[in-house]
């Protein structure tokens, strides 16, 4: 259980963590990608993918608008995907615990981003006289320093999250008593609710939105009912 490839996971977390805001914002940090990659590093793509799908539903409501604070899903999903893929565990309990650990990591990651923005602010304030004189080295230096600090931030969040959550989930899994179906039913009900309510809010003010939603449900039913 404890034999996780820590270094590759931390490197992946650092790479995907900076994608959230700093570089290149190609959304490789989205849970459906990041958790799948986290699972792949551990050796189980499918379990990572399942964790990624559930986390993606949770992340649907996160709109990084303006300067608001929000969970950092990049590092969180690497941790979630890796924990879901840890071999030798009861699958249903592992998925619930992995998703829980990922959301908690996302919360902590959000705080780390807030702290990084404050540190960037301190650096920018100190550099104001140089910025006002139009010094290119200062401008480029601030961007480079911010990027480097974000890499360190994301790596540390991933490392600490794995060091905390791996023993916790390893200890909890043998005590897991709920059946696989019931555990997953609660998990996907919560995730589906978050995603559904997020989509509903996005459609606010768009005429006929419920009908489009119902058309989608009809299409989904058709794919499973029709031969």
């Amino acid at each position: 259980m404890m034999d996780l490839p820590l270094l590759p996971l931390v490197a992946l977390g650092a790479f995907l963590g900076i994608d959230v805001v700093s570089f290149p914002q190609a959304m490789i940090s989205r849970p459906i990608v990041a958790a799948t990659l986290g699972g792949a590093v551990v050796g189980d793509v499918v379990s990572g993918l399942f964790a990624g799908a559930v986390l993606e539903m949770m992340a649907m409501e996160t709109l990084p608008v303006g300067a608001s604070r929000y969970p950092e899903w990049g590092t969180a999903s690497v941790v979630g995907g890796a924990l879901a893929a840890v071999p030798g565990a009861d699958r249903s309990g592992a998925l619930v615990l992995a998703v829980f650990a990922a959301i908690a990591t996302g919360w902590a990651g959000g705080w780390s981003m807030y702290l990084l923005r404050r540190v960037n602010g301190v650096w920018a304030r100190r550099a104001l006289p140089a910025l006002e004189s139009g010094a290119p080295r200062t401008v480029i230096g601030l961007q480079a320093r911010g990027l480097a600090a974000d890499i360190v931030r994301a790596a540390l969040v991933t490392l600490f999250a794995l060091l905390v959550w791996l023993p916790v989930t390893t200890w909890l899994l043998p005590h897991w008593s709920l059946g696989a179906t019931a555990s997953r039913a609660v998990l996907v009900a919560v995730a589906g609710a978050v995603a559904g309510s997020a989509a509903w809010r996005l459609a606010s003010g768009v005429g006929g939105a419920p009908w489009y939603f119902l058309a989608g449900i009809a299409a989904a039913l058709a794919t499973v009912v029709l031969p």
Binding site: L63, V65, G66, A67, S68, Y114, R117, R118, R201, L202, S204, G205, V206, G207
Partner: protein
Amino acid sequence: MAIELYRIDDRLIHGQVVVGWGQPLRVGFIVVVDDEVAASEWEQELYRMGVPPEMELYFASVNDAAERLDTWRRDQRPGILLTGDIDTMRRLVERAPSIQTVNLGGIHHRAGRAERLRYIYLTSEEERELRALASRGIDVTAQDVPSARPLPLRELLDGSAR
């Protein structure tokens, strides 16, 4: 319905207003109260591109807004009223005393301003203006997005918010 939010935000129309507040409140119109923008076609053109077509956008000077406030309040759709600074909101409140709540949504860094929250920076004069608003019985709170806790002015200014 009524105007659901009287907000001071130096960015006026932006994502937190249109998406962050506009979608959960199902906002049908936004009023931008700003003497300069109300007199500038090119700025209005820029701001119009920031709102979806189903959302109406009105521009008004302070005097014009004070006169039309009751009309907007009778609108069946929920609305948001925005000013870009505290002084504009203070002048509006003086002409329209029925405004009971003011939301501080974004007053950003500028020389002479001190940080109160990560999205609120104030000069001592601006703090005095906010206290004057509160002394009129107006509930002044800081809240950038709906999911954040509305922070009373007292907490904002005594430094316990940071």
